[in-house]
Every structure is written in structure tokens, then in C-alpha cells.
Amino acid sequence: MGLRDRIGRLKEGLTRTREGLMGKIARLVIPGGAIDEALLARVEEILIAGDVGADVSAAIVAAIRERAQKERASDAGVLPTLVRDEIRRQFVPGDEGGESDPFHLPPGRPFVILVVGINGVGKTTTVGKLSAAYVQAGKKVMVAAADTFRAAANEQLEIWARRAGAEIVRQGPGADPAAVAYDAVSAAQARGTDVVIIDTAGRLHTKVNLMEELKKISRVVQKSLPGAPHEVFLVIDASTGQNAMQQARQFGAAVGVTGLILTKVDGTAKGGIVLSISREMNIPVRFIGVGEGIDDLQPFDGKAFVEALIAS
């Protein structure tokens, strides 16, 4: 798939979100009409409907109200601008533009990426897509099948590795996932591999033992290569509601999440919860998944995301 198609698909995914949010707000606004409480309540509802969350939605609306008063903005026509500004303010750092190469690697090899998240969010698929992107960028990629629990997890990742043109390190079902990760990083060091991407088993953030297992994977990787893992990506399904906040907190506390990947953006769910996560944890959204194909991964562009979200 060419770059143009990719962007087309991204836009398509985002357009739905946009229509959900700003389209509705724009339709509410009567030019020359007043910014009244009913209108603000509707804005809040729309944000909530996008899974932004009651807290953050209320905060955004409070900020809009305050600014409207301070700036003596009484015309509802300025509302979309205020909403845009305030949402942008929630979204923190990371990617303010898509200028820098999202697949850029710092010097030193191998670059180790640990992919974590709850069950079924799209980790393995994302590992496949990421591998393909790095291979396309001319890198030597190895994936580690550190999900030794789920039925046919190895076979699934193997298919993705083959599609992407990446090497795979795996062991039998039930093997110690930390050992698989260790093997992969060691092998990568020996073979001069550029990128190691570790796929882990889905685990609920509430399961103490499984979170301990994840910590162990991270520890062992670090032992094998100081400074690794260089990135810890938490994968979040766009259809997830407020529980994603809890997921981010727990995975963050366990292994120090460095970036978010929002998957299944090709559906109708808005994924607004990443606003709250990004804001609270001060971590960027790095990529979005827009389909089940190997090319259906987009670098996350914060500016474009917010623009698309609020453009009327």
C-alpha cells in the first residue's frame, strides 16, 4: 500500500471521529446566538460520548466557560475555536507534527521495543505492522514470541514475522516468557539486529502475578542489554472506555510505559480516553492502528489528530 493510500485511510478513520465531535457541535451553533449553559452542557455530552471521560470533559467545558467570560465572547460562533483550543491543551507532548521520522533509531543496537497491554487489544498484530515498517525502512528486525500462554500465539506471530520479513525467536508453549525475551535480545546482539520487538501475552492489569511476570521480562531484558527496553508501548483498543485509564496507570507503574498505540481506529469508537491518559501520564500516543492489514499502522500525529477531531 502506498503512502497516499495510508493517509487516505487515516483520514477516513479520523473523519468519523471528527463528525462525531465537531460536526455535532457545529450543527448546534447558531451564528450570533449566545454561548449559554445548554450549549455548554451539550458540548460536555458530546465529549463524554467520545469516551473523553466525565472528569476531563467537565474540565474542558469549565475552561471554555471561563475563557468565554474572560474574553467576553458571547457569540456561539466562536465555540468551535474554543473547543479546539481546549482539547489541544489536554493533549500533551510527544508528537506535535509528523515531521520527525517515527521510525528513527538512536545510535546503538539493538533497539528494543516491549509491547504490552490487556487481552485482545491488538498487540501481536501491531508487532507485525511495526516490524514491517522497520523492515521497509531498511532495518534488520527480530520479533520475540514472549506470549507463551495464549493458544496458537506462536503460530500467529510467526505468520506476521514471515509477512513482515522479520526473524522470530520462540520457544514452546508454557516456556518462561522472560527467557524468550532474553534469548531474543542476546541473539540480536550477536547477529547485529537493529530492532527487537517483544510481543507479550495479553494480561489484565489487575492480575498481580501476570504483572509481576511482565516486570520480570523487562528486568531480564535490561540485564541482557543495559538501557533496554528502549520503548515500552501500551496498546489500547479505541473502543475501550474509562477502564483504559486504569490500564495505563497499572502498566505504567509496572514497566514504565513510554508511548501509547491506539488500535482499531477504523471503527466508530472515538478513543477519547487517550486524551486523559496522555494528559495524566504525560506520555505521547505514538501510532494508530487502522485495520487488520500489515500496512494499517499510522504514526500518530497529535496536531492532525486534534485538528481532525475538532474541524467542523
Binding site: 493458544a151 505468520i159 469508537a269
Partner: protein, 444 residues
């Protein structure tokens, strides 16, 4: 499971408890709080609004001069309204008059369909059926291997056919079942987005080809506001018979269940609560409402225990409970039965009041082993008359069980607490009060 929702609701209600009068002002505050609870729980905002409006209308119309307190009144109203929203009774899976009966499993990507298919197969196998699993996901990498592995784990045959399309596969599966005397066919399908026209047409075609007795829509318990859209879209295409809420072993508040009920009116039939294949529970709307209100799901616990307890013992125990007798021997029996029910941490969650185990707390199974050893080292008389246990007897028991006198003393304290609880239960004081202050052996 629904503990967070329960906790928040309790917080909101606490403010009402102890207030003498019901007024529009204090109802208003509570209901705003309840709305927040529902939104945080991912109940769709429109559904939440209707819920609040209904409760308010009913609360304000109530005669204040009744014997119950305003707090109790609101609790009752909220509970009743939740029950009304969740449905009133559990609807079983429908079997056809002529075998094989067919269950079609559908839903979004990663929601838990394949796992559920295997769980259903095991569930019905345990109940005397002869299921056949059909791997009709022709898209996801290794989807067939996944179901084959799961089928192998539960020793249920799998129908697969490389290179066939999903519709032909499903049809072939039903024919295969008929020819091989399987009375239940469970068809696992690929995950699909409700906006993917081609894929939605495919699942419609599968339905047409096999005329399922039961179509189950699988929903992740963590689903947010969009649950209403996906449920509506799948329902328009498939007119599904019921939904299954998955990943209920997490801490998602599960408001999607309410949204779904309110949107398509179809019952939620099962709860999927774990990656292990026996982690499947029948859904009871009324119990769930109680659970949401922090009353716990005592009935589920009892039911699960029932499966394990042999009937006679259960009857005896019930009689004893009524008479408020509870000997150490019963304690030992109970311990063993409870341990059969699964990991204690899971069992605990089903006991009202126990969902407040501190986060990260785990139950120390080793402590249970010690308790068993201690009771086994007692004479039968001692087990029935614990008041006999003086210092020297306790020392003997400690030596005999390889524990310390402190361990024995601790156990006796726990037993006393348990006895108190049983007494309260016998008097109908409710499990909740009874459990307060009770300590289970808990590790870090």
C-alpha cells in the same frame, strides 16, 4: 468485577444514609453523583440520563411518611431501576427440537469469541451434550490453530476445512455434526467491525446458511460509549438472541451491559471471566443489580458451591446454618469445598463485602494448608467441642500438625469469628454484616 461501580455508588448513597428527610435538594445531589458513577462506568450517557430521570420521577412521587428511611428508599429505587434495565430473569440458551442445535458466535475483533466458543463447548459438554466446534474464522492469522488447541484442551472435536470460505465452513460443520451424532454445533466467526459492509454481509450469509438456534453477540466488558452503536449495528444485521460480556475478571465497571440492554433489549446470557476455559458464568440480571449496589453476588457463590458440594452435605450444612451450629469439622469441610471451587482470590470476589480486599492482596493458600493440618490433628471430640482446647491440648495439636501454638490460637480466633458470622446469617442478618471484620488468611 463491578466493584468500582459498587464502591462509587456506595459513596454517593452514604451521604443519604442517616439523613432524616428526603428532599429535592438531597436527591438531586445524590442523583448527580449516581450519574457520574454511571458515566465513569461507561454506561452510555443517554442511557444514564434516562436512568436518572426515571429514578428521580419515582423518588419524588414517593410518600415520605413511610417507615423506611430516605436512604433505604433511594437504594431500593436505584436497585429496582437497575434490575428493570438489566432485565428480570436469566434466559437460557435455546435448543432446537431436532439436533443438532447451532450456536453462532459473533462480535468485534479481540472481544473473546474464540475463547468463548471453547468455553461454551466445555460448559455444555459438562451438561451432557456432545458439542462440535467449527472454526469459521478464515482471516485472522492462526485463528484455526487457536481453536484447535482449545478444542484439544477440552477434548471436543473441531470441524475445519482449509481453503473453504466461512459460509461453506459453517454449513459443512452443521452437516458434519448431523452425520457424527453431535447434538450441538458452536460456530466461531472472525472478528469484524460493524461498519465493514463486506464482513457484515458475510456473517449475515453464515446466519442464513445455518439458521442458528442461538446467536450470541460477544462484548468486551471494557467497552465504552460506542457499545450502543456496535450492539445496534450487529443487532440490525443478525437480530442476535443474547450477549456475552467478556473479560469480567478485570476491574472494568461494565456499564456496557446496561447500555446494551437499554439499546437492543436482548438479554445478557453469560459472563466470561478469565482465560481458563471453565471461567464462564450464567448471567443473572437481578444479581448483577445487587452487585452493582455493593451487595455482592452471594447467589453466584452459592451456585458455584452447589456444583461442587455433594447434595447431602449441602443439605446438612444448611440445616446447621439454620440452627447456628458450626463446628470445626464443618469449618474443615467448608475449607475443602471452597478450595475445590477454584483459586481463593476468585472465590473471594463473589462474597459480599470481600470485593474490598485491598488491591494487590492475594490469598495465602499456604495458610489454608496449615489450617487443614491443624484441624486434622484434633480429635473428633475436639473438633465438635472446641471449648475443650486448653493450653496443653493446643500444644499437642501444634506439634502434631507441624505448626506453632500461635497458629492454633489464630485459627481458633478465626473460627470464633466464623461462628459469629454463621449465627448472624442464621438470624437473617445478611452476609454483608456478618462478613464485616472477618479476616481471611491473606498474604502480602
Amino acid at each position: 468485577m463491578f466493584d468500582e461501580l459498587s464502591r462509587k455508588l456506595e459513596g454517593a448513597l452514604k451521604r443519604l444514609r442517616g439523613q432524616g428527610k428526603i428532599s429535592e435538594a438531597n436527591i438531586g445531589e445524590t442523583l448527580r453523583e449516581v450519574r457520574r458513577v454511571l458515566l465513569d462506568a461507561d454506561v452510555n450517557y443517554k442511557v444514564a440520563k434516562k436512568f436518572i430521570d426515571d429514578v428521580q420521577a419515582k423518588a419524588l412521587g414517593q410518600d415520605v411518611l413511610t417507615s423506611i428511611t430516605p436512604g433505604q428508599l433511594i437504594v431500593k429505587l436505584i436497585h429496582d431501576e437497575l434490575v428493570a434495565l438489566l432485565g428480570t430473569s436469566a434466559a437460557p440458551v435455546t435448543f432446537g427440537a431436532t439436533p443438532p442445535s447451532v450456536i453462532l458466535v459473533a462480535g468485534l475483533q479481540g472481544s473473546g469469541k474464540t475463547t468463548l466458543s471453547a468455553k461454551l463447548a466445555l460448559y455444555f459438554k459438562k451438561r451432557g451434550h456432545h458439542p462440535l466446534l467449527v472454526a469459521a474464522d478464515t482471516y485472522r492469522p492462526a485463528a484455526v490453530e487457536q481453536l484447535r488447541t482449545l478444542a484439544g484442551q477440552i477434548d471436543v472435536p473441531l470441524y475445519e476445512e482449509a481453503g473453504e470460505n466461512a459460509v461453506a465452513l459453517a454449513r459443512g460443520g452443521v452437516i458434519h455434526a448431523r452425520q457424527n451424532a453431535r447434538d450441538l454445533v458452536i460456530v466461531d466467526t472472525a472478528g469484524r467491525l460493524h461498519v465493514d459492509e463486506e464482513m457484515m454481509k458475510e456473517v449475515e450469509a453464515i446466519k442464513k446458511a445455518i439458521s442458528p438456534n442461538e446467536i450470541l453477540f460477544v462484548v468486551d466488558a471494557m467497552t465504552g460509549q460506542d457499545a450502543v452503536n456496535t450492539a445496534r449495528a450487529f443487532h440490525e444485521r443478525l437480530n442476535f438472541d443474547g450477549a456475552v460480556l467478556t473479560k469480567m475478571d478485570g476491574d472494568a465497571r461494565g456499564g456496557a451491559a446496561l447500555s446494551l440492554r437499554a439499546t437492543v433489549g436482548k438479554p445478557i446470557k453469560f459472563l466470561s471471566a478469565g482465560e481458563k476455559l471453565d471461567a464462564l458464568e450464567v448471567f443473572h440480571p437481578d444479581r448483577l443489580a445487587s452487585r452493582i449496589l455493593g451487595m455482592g453476588d452471594i447467589v453466584t457463590l452459592v451456585e458455584k458451591a452447589q456444583e461442587q458440594l455433594d447434595g447431602e452435605k449441602a443439605v446438612k450444612l444448611e440445616a446447621k446454618l439454620r440452627k447456628s451450629q458450626f463446628t470445626l469439622e464443618d469449618f474443615l469441610d467448608q475449607l475443602q469445598e471452597v478450595r475445590k471451587m477454584g483459586p481463593l482470590s476468585q472465590v473471594m470476589g463473589m462474597i459480599p463485602g470481600m470485593n474490598r480486599l485491598p488491591a494487590g492482596a492475594t490469598v495465602d493458600e499456604g495458610a489454608l494448608t496449615r489450617i487443614e493440618a491443624i484441624i486434622r490433628s484434633m480429635t473428633f471430640e475436639e473438633r465438635r467441642k472446641p471449648q475443650l482446647l486448653n493450653g496443653s491440648r493446643r500444644k499437642r495439636i501444634a506439634v502434631g500438625s507441624g505448626t506453632t501454638v500461635q497458629d492454633v490460637n489464630r485459627l481458633m480466633k478465626q473460627y470464633e469469628q466464623m461462628q459469629k458470622m454463621v449465627r448472624t446469617l442464621g438470624k437473617g442478618g445478611g452476609m454483608r454484616n456478618a462478613m464485616r471484620g472477618m479476616k481471611f488468611p491473606a498474604g502480602n
